[in-house]
């Protein structure tokens, strides 16, 4: 079972207290978006074998959203951070890069 630390309330919660809502940092398309941009926003997803940035909600806890960096092949959690950001924090990216030198880095 996954254990994630909610950066909002500081509690380390079991997976059963949390809900995953897929890929993080997807920029919303504006009303002037063309078909390609809208398709990208609505449907296209990173589906990496490896490091994945995703949105989680502490549903049976503080109820707030946060982001997590997790490996999809080992289920290792690299860290969690505030959802109020458009890119993952530098320190977390460096930490992942150190653990996974072959990782290509964060792609928006």
């Amino acid at each position: 079972m996954l254990h994630l630390t909610c950066p909002n309330c500081g509690i380390t919660a079991d997976e059963t207290d949390l809900h995953c809502d897929g890929q993080a940092h997807i920029a919303r398309s504006g009303i002037d978006a063309n078909d390609d941009e809208l398709e990208n926003y609505l449907f296209m997803r990173h589906n990496p074998k490896g490091v994945h940035f995703e949105r989680w909600r502490h549903v049976y806890g503080c109820g707030k959203w946060f982001n997590a960096a997790r490996c999809t092949t080992t289920l290792e959690v690299f860290g969690t951070y505030s959802a109020q950001t458009t890119t993952p924090p530098k320190s977390l990216l460096n930490k992942i890069k150190k653990k996974r030198p072959e990782w290509e880095g964060f792609i928006k």
Partner: protein, 415 residues
């Protein structure tokens, strides 16, 4: 290929069964093929088989990074049904179901297709309306299903508890010609037939790069060397995103884990397949007597082929409500498979931005039942290079065009 028959068994018995030939050859990879299929699971092998049988294309290689039939083909709960709501899904799943009816004869390989009947329980008012609607739709599509009341449910499956603690059984959508088949035999049967047509099945050969020239696919780099090909079919389920990356396009897919489990063998107690989508579990009894059980997918992207324990607990809880007699059964095996899920819960059988490259993926949690129909449609797509026939509606561009084949509502959860 020597044919399997009662006579062949008698003949081989005389030589103490030492004379059986290999079911499929173990060839060296050639330098060039007309078509290459990546992925020797059910869908990949069926694609190759119908390329040869329907279109006479036999200079084909099927590459597999593990062993054939070792992915989701060997990890599913073997349910076959075609009671879908949307016309394009009903067409491809019914084609598949009808091909299963004669598959053992066509392939000369016993796939143990058992049309024992599949029922999907209605346990809420909404489900009653939903399944009646599906039954009407199926009538128009020529798929034989019927909506039945609780007494008929009890008669068909006596071990069921009609007045469950949370959700009573109010009725069911019944497909009498749905059922199960031996999943490994489907892969093995297709592999034997493909090998007999002269196709090369190369196992333990992982694709590392897709080579292209002028926007057209020209070949592959693999762990067993490089090869050239005119047409490429990617049929790799959970790993589709990975292969699409190599071919340079994106997919609207997410890979998640789906778990299943099997009990100790018990005496025959149910001769139908029962799916309970509201409480979320489904069960059938195998020929060996084991209860084969499946549930829902895990909630996050996962490539590990194992899942979360609490999802299993939900499934088991649902089944104990529905079948109280299974409460003391011991479970023997439990496993997970990686399923690739699309936004509308329908598959993608499509041309791609890379010319000559075709993709068949997104079968999500319900691919086994579709194997022959999927292969049939993919072979037509690859042979003619156009989005026509059974695959017509399943193109990659349907998301951009808003033409969803929305089975996430129609199929409830268990798909």
């Amino acid at each position: 290929m020597s044919r399997y028959s009662a006579f062949a068994i008698a003949k081989n018995a005389l030589s103490y069964h030492q004379g059986w030939e290999r079911a499929w050859a173990k060839p060296e990879m050639k330098k060039e093929y007309d078509a290459v299929i990546v992925g020797a699971g059910g869908h990949g092998l069926a694609t190759a088989y119908y390329l040869g049988k329907n279109y006479g294309i036999t200079n084909v290689a099927i590459l597999e990074k593990g062993w054939l039939g070792g992915g989701n083909t060997g990890r599913n709960t073997t349910i076959i049904r075609s009671n879908y709501l949307q016309d394009s899904s009903a067409a491809i799943y019914e084609k598949a179901r009808s091909l299963y009816e004669t598959m053992s004869q066509d392939l000369n390989y016993n796939v143990m297709f058992s049309p024992r009947g599949v029922m999907m329980l209605a346990q809420t008012e909404a489900e009653i309306r939903g399944y009646k609607r599906t039954a009407h739709a199926n009538k128009l599509q020529g798929v034989k299903t019927e909506y039945i009341g609780p007494q008929k449910v009890k008669q068909l499956c006596p071990i069921i508890e009609l007045s469950g603690p949370r959700f009573p059984v109010l009725g069911a959508l019944w497909q009498p010609r749905g059922g199960t088949a031996r999943h490994d035999a489907v892969a093995w049967g297709y592999a034997r037939a493909c090998s007999d047509m002269g196709m090369d099945i190369i196992q333990q050969c992982e694709v590392t790069a897709v080579t292209q020239s002028n926007g057209k696919v020209s070949g592959l780099q693999t762990t067993k060397g490089s090869l050239k090909c005119k047409k490429l079919g990617i049929v790799v389920a959970g790993n589709s995103g990975h292969l699409a990356d190599m071919a340079g396009f994106r997919l609207p897919l997410e890979s998640v884990s789906l778990q299943a489990l099997v009990s100790e063998p018990i005496k025959p107690c149910m001769d139908v397949v029962v799916m309970a989508n509201t409480v979320h579990g489904y069960m059938s009894q195998s020929d060996k007597g084991e209860m084969v059980i499946g549930g829902g997918t895990d909630g996050f992207n996962n490539y590990t082929q194992r899942g979360s324990f609490h999802h299993l607990e939900e499934t088991v809880r649902a089944l104990i409500e529905t079948f109280p007699m299974v409460s003391r059964l011991k479970m023997l095996r439990h496993w997970g498979g990686i399923v690739d899920v699309t936004g509308d819960r329908s598959p993608i059988i499509s041309t791609t931005p890379l010319s000559g490259c075709f993709i068949n993926c997104g079968w999500g949690t319900g691919g086994f039942k579709a194997i022959p129909g999927s292969g049939w449609a993919m072979a037509e797509l690859m042979a003619k290079g156009e989005q026509i026939g059974l695959a017509a509606e399943f193109g990659l561009n349907r998301f951009q065009q808003g033409r969803f084949i929305d089975e996430s509502v129609a199929a409830g959860v268990a798909h």
